[in-house]
């Protein structure tokens, strides 16, 4: 029984991790980029203008 419960917990954690990774990909975010303070020197992209 404990194996199934732990399996379910791990499964939920994996889904949450997968969702986080997918959302980062979809929103073009990077965990290791820090907050905006790391990117204050960024100017607009020469290709897309954003």
């Amino acid at each position: 029984m404990a194996t199934y419960i732990l399996g379910a917990v791990l499964g939920v954690a994996l889904i949450a991790a997968g969702r986080h990774i997918y959302r980062n990909f979809a929103d073009d975010k990077h965990d290791c980029c820090g907050t905006e303070s790391s990117c204050t020197s960024c100017t607009s992209c020469p290709h897309c203008g954003k």
Binding site: A2, T3, L6, G7, L10, A13, L14, A16, A17, G18, H20, I21, D28, H30, D31, C32, C33, G34, T35, S37, S38, C39, S41, C42, T43, S44, C45, P46, H47
Partner: protein, 632 residues
């Protein structure tokens, strides 16, 4: 009613926008840092029966038309031809501000000089003889303090009534322009010509400043005294290296490593033991125990162990940044960067690469020339980002326990050297366009604000905690699955697993490097997905949990826990070769995606992945074989 078109130009942070707001009643955003205005703004007013339009141009240090701001300024001044151009100067820093003035005069732009920030200048004991300055340059000169209404009124009166046709460049200016023209005809190479012209301009500025600026009773301030040592031509670079070395000692010997060891003891000892006992008491299936202990704790725990090192390193770098020292690094490294065809400005995005390659690659947008930007993007991933740090720390602690900090420092230096070498090679082959020059305003030295330093450290470091809980966790489960299963189902023998098959394929590339085991090959593959995965793969494959149980009276550090497995797989030399390879090879997928986005090209992304792998392969081969030849 006659009309008058006036343009405000000048260096960043000289108060142009304040003057513009005072003149036009506008509420344009003002900041006390450079670069607040990034596009031109237009406002209108009427004075002495004239309808006046005022254009506030972006602040710029030069008019080489390389950066977007410079292009806006030079396009407007040369094509729109306003009736009057007011060059707003910071009176307390005349020498630097006149550099733009002289460039505008070389372009034939008629100017009215506004010596702004008089209050600042007076505080520093600086007096400017405006008549002498006007005569030296052949142009009208006004003194203002931007927030003082009376002085702005004076400026308005002067430029409304000034007839610029009455003013002509002085003999001194004409002689300077003639010398510059002569240099342009001399046939010098582009780089040499640019250097000569810069020298000529500063010689001119020095002679003007000597004539009309006096400094009364001012003694060098603290910043000047510190810069006399830290930014001195002879001592700057050695002191920079000493400072970096001290940061590594603090991180890997004095503070960071003891904290990492304590965390490692806890994860590898009490935590693993408690979880194992609990799972056994709950009668959890063996495979689930293995997944949790070997997979999740071995993989995620293996990465979490190094989080103290990452936080200590980022704290040190944020502290140095807060003191104003990191801005000096651009100047200190400028001579080296010039030798590889870049400028000191290029060091800024590279320094960001010590945290993470992603913002560093994006930060290259701030560079002026396409060559500088592309070169910076392609060489930044050579640097040791925070995700590579655990790899270096793990191997250094295991194979060089008495010299871990020195070994990690050497790997960081190797990354920097390879970035410089690659920049030189790319500059001589792929990108042959001339690099740019740069001017950067240096902030004064100050004691960093503790809250700012801590927040910045947290901002940078927390990403690794989030990654440990998400991508590293998911990767650890995947690696555990791949290392425990094959087409027949779960296997007792890791050597027969999916991961062993993948790792064996990759390991064929390293038969001359000393680390041609399938485990090392698998770590190289997972490291492309996320660099931390190299450590989590090692943690899982070399069985942290099992060794923990076997080690009866050993001190359970990362070194001892994985020692038996890794000591069998690596010799000292092959460990060094693996560190070198991990330091230099293909960036992680996130960095590759950013390169694709920033270059707008799959080709450059593929080039980056391939050339870095090739360089890493060659350099680690040379290190391993060279070491063996020397008897190591």
């Amino acid at each position: 009613m006659s009309s008058l078109a006036v343009a405000l130009t000048g260096n960043p942070n000289t108060g142009k926008s304040t003057i513009f707001n005072e003149l036009t009643g506008a509420r344009q955003k003002i900041g006390n840092w450079p670069g607040v205005t990034v596009d031109k703004k237009i406002g209108y007013l009427s004075h002495q029966g004239r309808h006046i339009s005022v254009v506030d141009l972006p602040g710029t240090y030069s008019v080489n038309a390389r950066s977007p701001e410079e292009k806006i300024v030079i396009d407007y001044l040369l094509n729109e031809k306003p009736d009057l151009v007011v060059d707003v100067l910071d009176s307390s820093n005349l020498e630097r501000n006149l550099y733009l003035t002289i460039q505008l005069l070389e372009q034939g732009v008629p100017l009215l000089l506004d010596l702004n920030m008089q209050d600042e200048a007076k505080r520093h004991g600086i007096r400017v003889d405006t008549e002498t300055l006007g005569a030296a340059l052949g142009m009208p000169v006004v003194e203002t303090t931007a927030r003082n209404h009376d002085s702005i009124r004076t400026l308005l009166d002067v430029f409304t009534s000034t007839v610029m046709d009455k003013y002509h460049p002085s003999e001194k200016v004409l002689a300077h322009i003639a010398r510059v023209e002569e240099l342009r005809r001399s046939g010098l190479s582009e780089a040499a010509l640019e250097e000569k012209i810069i020298e000529e301009r500063y010689a001119f500025i020095d002679s003007v400043v000597a004539e009309c600026v006096s400094v009364a009773g001012a003694s060098p301030d603290l910043t000047e005294k510190i810069d006399a040592v830290l930014a001195n031509g002879w001592t700057a670079l050695p002191l920079f290296l000493v400072m970096l070395y001290a940061v590594f000692q603090i991180t890997f010997e004095w503070i960071g490593q003891p904290m990492a060891d304590a965390l490692d003891d806890f994860i590898g000892g009490p935590l693993t033991d408690a979880v194992t006992e609990t799972l056994e008491s709950w009668e959890v299936a063996d495979w689930m125990q293995s997944l949790i202990v070997d997979g999740v704790i071995g993989g995620v725990g293996g990465v979490l162990t190094f989080v103290p090192l990452i936080f200590v390193l980022f704290f040190c770098l944020s502290f140095l940044d807060g003191t104003g020292y990191m801005a000096r690094v651009a100047f200190i490294t400028d001579p080296i960067m010039r030798r590889v065809g870049l400028t000191g400005k290029g060091i800024m995005p590279l320094m960001m690469g010590f945290g993470c390659a992603v913002p560093a690659i994006m930060g290259a947008r701030a560079l002026d020339s396409e060559k500088d930007r592309m070169t910076s993007i392609l060489v930044t991933p050579f640097l040791t980002c925070g995700a590579k740090l655990p790899i270096m720390a793990l191997f250094a602690a295991m194979f060089f326990p008495d010299n871990a900090a020195n070994v990690v420092f050497t790997m960081y230096i190797l990354g920097v050297v390879m970035a410089i070498v690659a920049a030189k090679l790319l500059g001589g082959t792929v990108f042959q366009e001339q690099g740019s020059t740069f001017l950067l305003e240096l902030p004064p030295y100050r004691l960093p604000d503790a809250k700012t330093v801590l927040l910045e450290t947290w901002d940078k470091g927390k990403g690794y905690l989030i990654k440990a809980g998400t991508i590293i966790f998911a990767m650890s489960v995947l690696i555990w699955f791949l290392s425990n299963f094959n087409f027949s189902g779960m296997t007792e023998e890791m050597n027969e697993s999916f991961l062993a098959a993948l790792g064996t394929g990759m390991s064929k590339l390293f038969i001359f490097h000393g680390f041609d085991t399938w485990e090392a090959g698998a770590a190289v593959i997972t490291g492309i997905l996320a660099k931390e995965s190299v450590v989590s793969t090692m943690g899982i494959l070399y069985g942290v949990g099992e060794i923990s149980a076997e080690a009866e009276d050993a001190v359970e550090t990362a070194a001892t826990l994985m020692q038996s497995g890794m000591a069998n797989a690596f010799t000292t030399m092959s460990a060094v070769a693996f560190m070198v390879f991990s330091q230099l090879y293909t960036p992680c997928v996130t960095a590759l995606g950013t390169i694709k986005k920033e270059t707008g090209s799959w080709k450059w992304m593929g080039f980056s992945a391939a050339y870095m792998f090739a360089i890493a392969w060659v350099v680690s081969l040379l290190v391993y074989q060279g070491g063996r030849l020397m008897g190591f």
